[in-house]
């Protein structure tokens, strides 16, 4: 059995969704970020073939969805709920971006259910529904075109939760760096060859070697690469 994670305690609540494709897209968006608990409040469409097609490998999430008559039912037991909405400055609710909200949502979800709530494609959430939630969740968007697709909104929120939980940054490709002396010897050998072949004028060297050094420092030289560069510069020697 897999150990439980806070993601297992996070529900995605879709209110009065009208397009089956969005149900499927939301399920896939959830599963790909490790969420599995889907609640549908008074859905305006069926879980049909289109929904299943868009869900792709996340049909299980779709088929295990809990259908509710109203928002309160879907929030039963949740200790924190964040309602996704475009900026509503007329509402006094605490409003956060997904990045701001994620740590506390996850923290709470370690011990109790937490909900992300998304309104219908056309009407969003009513004021009454918004006020039932703990927080407003504002996904930053282009002020000139803020029409985020429902599945995309779920994707972005789920992504933030996944990243925040997983926040050990992805390591750079691991490689064994060459030691200082090796690199230094390589630089000196390079310089000698460049002088020998007439590419570098020792009387007027300009900035060639400083530039090459900067280049190699920026790249970082792997142990195995030293031999490659030695070989290439040895070939220069054959002029």
């Amino acid at each position: 059995m897999k150990p439980l994670t806070p993601l297992d305690n996070i529900r995605v609540v879709l209110v009065e969704t009208s397009h089956p494709g969005n149900l499927g897209a939301a399920a896939r968006a959830m599963k790909v970020m490790g969420l599995s608990s889907l609640y549908l409040v008074n859905p305006k469409c069926e879980i049909d073939d289109e929904a299943r097609a868009r869900a792709s490998g996340a049909v299980d999430v779709l088929e295990q969805a809990v259908i509710c008559d109203n928002l309160d039912q879907s929030l039963a037991g949740a200790v924190l709920s964040a309602a996704c909405t475009s900026r509503r400055r007329d509402l006094p609710h605490p409003a956060f971006t997904p990045r701001q909200a994620a740590p506390e949502l996850l923290s709470q979800a370690q011990t109790a259910p937490v909900a992300l709530v998304f309104g219908s494609e056309t009407f969003g959430l009513s004021n009454e529904q918004l006020m039932k939630c703990t927080w407003l969740l504002n996904i930053p968007t282009n002020p000139d075109y803020a029409s985020l697709n429902l599945g995309s909104a779920v994707q972005v929120a789920a992504y933030e939760l996944h990243c925040t939980l997983d926040d050990s940054p992805l390591a750079l490709p691991e490689f064994q760096r060459a030691g200082h002396e090796e690199v230094e010897r390589l630089m000196i050998a390079m310089e000698q060859k460049l002088v020998e072949v007439g590419f570098l004028d020792p009387v007027h060297p300009k900035r060639l070697m400083p530039r090459l050094r900067r280049f190699f420092a920026r790249a970082g030289v792997e142990k195995e690469e030293v031999a490659i560069w030695r070989g290439i510069f040895n070939a220069l020697n054959k002029i």
Copy 2:
């Protein structure tokens, strides 16, 4: 007129997309985060009614899409390109998450075009295509179900760029990168010289060119450095 932002210099390149719905979803995902420059490389479907329906208010992005025959065309002039792919530990290219990559992508995009590259729904990007890009972009996902929808991948990457631009003042680029064609021509010239001088056996090339490509991708090639490397490899030619 609106002031230009770095987002105006960021291209989304979709390679061999096969579902019209994903073209539309990508266009909408872009516009909602302030991106507008869409390139389609050898698309396997038409911009049809389904594409326009899914694009919703972003039909303009779809209709202004630049159609290209190959990846090189779509990267023309780009100084930095990040290829979205699931973790590919067999490939030696520098790999970053969208969050890690966003600051440098935006920094470069202040002065020159930058590209995000996405492969086909079924096959992703080929090794050859990946090696032509500067970086790999790994969106963190559920290890048990990593099948991110194409439109969702565009959404997540665009969201990160939008948020990063919102969150922090941009640094100036540390150096002016050479464009894609210059670097690509340099790689091809290098390979030819290495074959000519007998350093690279075209019948048994092993991993020399991938390693060199990795090295240059890691360093990032400055505009002025292209001439230096051309000179050095020209000297190899004089055997």
